[in-house]
Amino acid sequence: MRTTLLALATAALAALPLGLAQNVELLGAGATFPAPLITSMADEYRDVTGGRVTVNYQSIGSGGGIRQFTEQTVMFGMTEAFLNDGQLAAIAEAGGGVAFNIPITLGDVVPTYNLPGVQTGLVFDGDTLAEIFLGNIRTWADPQIALLNPDVRLPPLPITVVHRSDGSGTTNIWTSYLTKVSPTWAERVGFATSVNWPTGIGGNGNEGVAGVVQNTPGALGYNSLVYAALNDIAYGFVINKSGNTIEPTLAATSLAAAVELPADTRILVTDTDAPDGYPIAGFAWMLLYENLDANNAIQTRTQAEELLKFILWTITDGQDLAEPLSFSRIPEPVLALNLDMLRQVKWQGEDLGAQVLAEAGY
């Protein structure tokens, strides 16, 4: 009797790790903007792996993503603002070693407005947007706006500037654009995930800004393109550095990254030099430790291996999911840089990244 029980217990114990090894759960968190894409990828990847690998991604904002990545409570983070030198140094100091920023998609931020009788397609340039957000242009009837839109009858409404009240990667992209196109903005405000706004009213989250814009005739705010499109909010076109009027589209956003990129992909592609690129766009990065074993959230080699396989899938086959969901694909040169970074990833000194890539034929 006793031996039977013992045998049963041993069998159960032996089966337990096997059962866990078969099913792997990966955990990531961060930016809100790419969340629909990442969760769709997670859905698809679960089917691809026959239900074996579940990727749990929670959108807690770029700041939260960086924070939890640094706290080592998630296996990967997501952010619309890349890790700066200070953050990289802090991570290295905390024992995490090098952290990689791996672009997964591109985000585009569009000026959204509520003007009775005016549809999507109002044209803006950098200087006009900066002047409006500085509070120097106060009415839609301003000659500077009229000059850009000779065929549009602009109502003489006052402009209500709407911005994000929370820290946000969207704000980072928007203000980085204004900083690049306007010396006054660069000097007085600068760029960050949240800034000291010279004028306007705040809304919490993409939905907060959208809500104020939709309810306020004369309002001008900024939103992710996917958000504006899904909620039928009118949005503007922007004249880029090369002088071309660019309609914010997925292709134009991808083209914004068609510039010379640093090996670590830490670059703001706002006000891009690319002639057909949309100027208010930026990467959404996945954050990953070079030494996966340094991350407390990753406990086994299996988890590390499956995580690498998932990331490899998101930047290759998984990219096919992007455009149907109104997300931009990462361009070819970025894929090459991503593969280079993944190749360096290690598990307890073992070249796990290189192995996973070799297995997949990269």
């Binding site: 059962g19 866990l20 099913n23 792997v24 759960e25 955990l27 968190a29 629909p36 969760t39 769709s40 990828m41 997670a42 859905d43 679960r46 579940t54 749990n56 991604y57 929670q58 959108s59 807690i60 706290e71 080592q72 409570t73 989250g205 993409n206 939905e207 959208a210 996917v226 958000y227 899904l230 909620n231 407390n296 959230a297 406990q299 999911l321 149907p324 969901l325």
Partner: protein
């Protein structure tokens, strides 16, 4: 004679004829006050009814969908393309986290309540009272932070376990206070009867005082439960959330799980109409959860009245 009889409707006119102006004024004031009280009650009740009606009318459709209970959420693409999506994992996760919180908070909370009520002379009791009140007044998000530091950081991952502990911190002071309150109203004679039989003090508390107060204690526990079930803040960085059913039953404790209040928020701020509808559905389930709890606690209190008679 006519003045002192109880004022029924036909008598009231006569009453007015014979009573001095002073008394009439007092009756008038009485009626005005009652009117104000009725008004105040309505002011409290109407928003409640409006909330219940609004949530149910918006969310009932989502809840009636069978996949709402059997599927997990996945990505918004599922909802947009009409594939199976639901909050089954969220309901399950909520039950696990709330159940765990009850398991932790009830024994400790009742113990603390007994200490406060039955051992007022113990040197630790004043400190316990202050700590309990402080814990009760502490913002819920700080309790989440505490659970994050105590459990999430050492474990290296978010978990249902840490969520349960965070909610237990919310329940604990409420259970302790409620227990103390009901034990106090148990007549002293019951304790004396036990002591007269030669029972030790702890046995008197456990075998005579506590059973007499059982229904009141249960009510306190249910109120604490209802309060904690609606909390999202302590769960943000503990239970964390999950878009899927966990891969193994044990993972509901050791891995991140979804909970209704937190999921409701994330659905509500999403840009998808389909998810907004599911968010309302989550609201209906949460409301149902809490209302059922309160109805059960009401019934329990009514039973006590019958038992007293």
């Amino acid at each position: 004679m006519a003045v002192t009889t109880t004022p029924t409707a036909p008598r009231r006119t006569r009453l007015a004829e014979v009573t001095p102006a002073n008394l009439r004024r007092r009756y008038l004031r009485d009626r005005v006050m009652i009117g104000l009280l009725v008004l105040a009650t309505l002011v409290v009740l109407i928003p409640l009814l409006v909330i219940v009606w609004y949530v149910i009318s918006n969310g009932i459709q989502a809840v009636l969908e069978p996949t709402f209970w059997t599927s997990d959420l996945g990505s918004p693409a599922r909802a947009l393309s009409g594939r199976e999506t639901g909050l089954g994992h969220t309901v399950l996760g909520t039950l696990v986290v709330d159940g765990l919180a009850l398991l932790i908070a009830v024994p400790i909370g009742i113990g603390a309540g007994i200490m406060l009520s039955e051992y007022p002379d113990h040197p630790l009791t004043p400190a316990l009272r202050i700590l309990n009140d402080t814990l009760n007044g502490m913002p819920a998000i700080l309790k989440g932070l505490l659970a994050f530091a105590l459990i999430v950081k050492p474990m290296g991952t978010f978990s249902g376990l840490s969520g349960g502990v965070a909610l237990a911190f919310v329940m604990l002071p409420i259970v302790a206070r409620a227990t103390e309150g009901v034990l106090r109203i148990i007549p002293w004679s019951i304790r004396e009867a036990g002591l007269a039989l030669g029972l030790p003090r702890w046995r008197v508390v456990l075998n005579t005082v506590l059973p007499a107060a059982r229904v009141g204690v249960v009510t306190g526990v249910l109120i604490a439960f209802a309060r904690a079930a609606g909390e999202a803040a302590p769960l943000l960085f503990t239970a964390f959330g999950n878009n899927f059913f966990s891969s193994a039953p044990l993972r509901y404790l050791t891995g991140p799980v979804d909970t209704l209040p937190a999921r409701l928020y994330s659905l509500a701020i999403s840009p998808y109409r389909e998810w907004h509808a599911m968010g309302w559905g989550a609201g209906v389930v949460l409301l149902g959860f809490v209302i059922v709890t309160f109805v059960v606690s009401r019934c329990a209190t009514r039973q006590r009245h019958q038992a007293d008679m």
